[in-house]
Symmetry: C2
Subunit: 256 residues, 2 copies
DNA sequence: AAAGCCATCCGATAATCTCGGACGAGGCTC
DNA sequence: GAGCCTCGTCCGAGATTATCGGATGGCTTT
């Protein structure tokens, strides 16, 4: 009844538990039967997973509806707080957003995806409601490309292979050779742009943050509406601000 | 080899996975062998759990050390953001902290524990570094007692039975009848105090937030050093501020 | 009052998790 | 530079245990 081709599928019960969690994080309220139907699993199986999660304190049962508990919130916050790079980088990113009035991000590569570890809003910024931990394709984002530009080619290939380069917005790069030249440009310029490559109407400007050996810690980004940011003077001003902030971060990182 | 008395231990693999996650959230870096030793599990078992978590994107393997990924951060943030009560209550709590200069909290009962869903710092507040989702005993905290006071007696018993009432700080209530009279006092006064009951030197003042039927949504709290807060005038002033804020919250909750 | 829905429980089958052991690679010491 | 030690990974067998269909009983609905 269940024959997986490769033998990579161990710990199925763990997998289905996380499938349930993933489904529950969006839809706040469910019922056992509904969930079972959605996930195409037997009711009794879902039930046993739910009771286990409940016993572990990760799931709350209120009036027959289920929701993930604040224990998971606490877990996430704990991870976030104990992440050292984030702690060092965070103040600078906040300041950058405050001073420019635009959105500022710091992202690292995680699982081959550009992962925002700091998200800061400026006064002018339209709230995109991006959350810490949000992930996007490396080839789509300014931060992602800035990081890719300083990764060994084989890792770049591996990442592209894993996640592909599908069209996500008008400007998305979908061709591997085009990406290669783009990364070359980023390396020489020291700046990565993403013009409506992941979100329509959004312009992103990023610089890589490197360690002493030239390996990327991550990338620092400012993002905003294309219309406002694509003015040459303003953009140069922003680039200046990012580079100053980036410099500050690199100093803070090498200090300790 | 493994004989559990009761038959409540289903989904063991899920349990051990969360045991691993729990261990990993504190100690940022581990190795397979170390983890296995700590948790007293076979190396190979731990290994299969780690690879599964890695495949699911919840675990990052950097230079042989493991850490939980920002995917879990994102999960927590998503849960937090989609929690409606928190969204409604949050601004008022922030304002309360800003205006009083003290720490302000909003807590609900979850799994029989007082769970902070909003944590706000004031100017004067010593940073306790409490995170959203942090949990404490209901009988220890002002918020917990404020909520308990408006829960049916059988639920109170159930909660006390489950978590006990161990001495945690000088003022901890450890006796059930004492708790009962305390809850009665809280009901008549409308205010719950916790004088060094969970943390030494900490005074907490809380009021319950009830719905139209008198069931508790949660409780609103101000906390600070006993020395400062135990001045009669100042405390009355704070009570006034809490009650105003609580009123605002109840209005906001009944509006929608 | 009856019917439907739902959560929970049960038991048997077989899938799959566990666990000891073995292999190979990398780093350290001598 | 060689040998040793530790660590991560892989493998296979056995037995636990997860899965799944079905049955029960409570609750609401019509």
């Amino acid at each position: 009844m269940a024959q997986q081709g490769p033998k990579t599928n161990q710990l199925q019960s763990v997998r289905t538990t996380f499938k349930i969690i993933d489904s529950l994080k969006r839809n706040t309220a469910e019922s056992v039967s509904t969930l079972a139907e959605q996930l195409e699993l037997p009711k009794s199986t879902v039930h046993s997973h739910l009771t286990t999660l409940n016993q572990l304190g990760y799931l709350i049962n209120e009036d027959g509806t289920y929701r993930l508990s604040y224990r998971l919130v606490h877990l996430g916050r704990t991870i976030e707080q104990s992440h050292e790079l984030r702690r060092i980088v965070s103040p600078t990113v906040e300041t950058l957003a405050a001073e420019t009035g635009e959105q500022a991000y710091f992202a690292v590569e995680e699982n081959g995806l550009a992962t925002n570890i700091v998200v800061a809003e400026g006064e002018r910024s339209i709230r995109r409601q991006f959350l810490p931990g949000g992930q996007a394709r490396m080839t789509n984002t300014a931060t992602g490309k800035a990081i890719l530009a300083h990764l060994p080619p084989e890792r770049v290939d591996e990442i592209v292979q894993r996640w592909g380069m599908p069209q996500a917005a008008p400007g998305t790069i979908t061709d591997e050779t085009e990406l290669a030249t783009e990364l070359e440009t980023i390396r020489t310029d020291g700046i990565a742009y993403a013009r409506e490559e992941s979100v329509k109407g959004l312009l992103e400007i990023a610089i890589p943050i490197l360690d002493d050996d030239g390996h990327p810690h991550g990338a620092l980004e400012i993002a905003g509406p294309t219309k406002r940011l694509d003015d040459d003077d303003y953009r140069h001003e922003l680039v200046d601000e990012i580079e100053t902030a980036g410099n500050e971060i690199e100093v803070n990182l090498s200090i300790r």
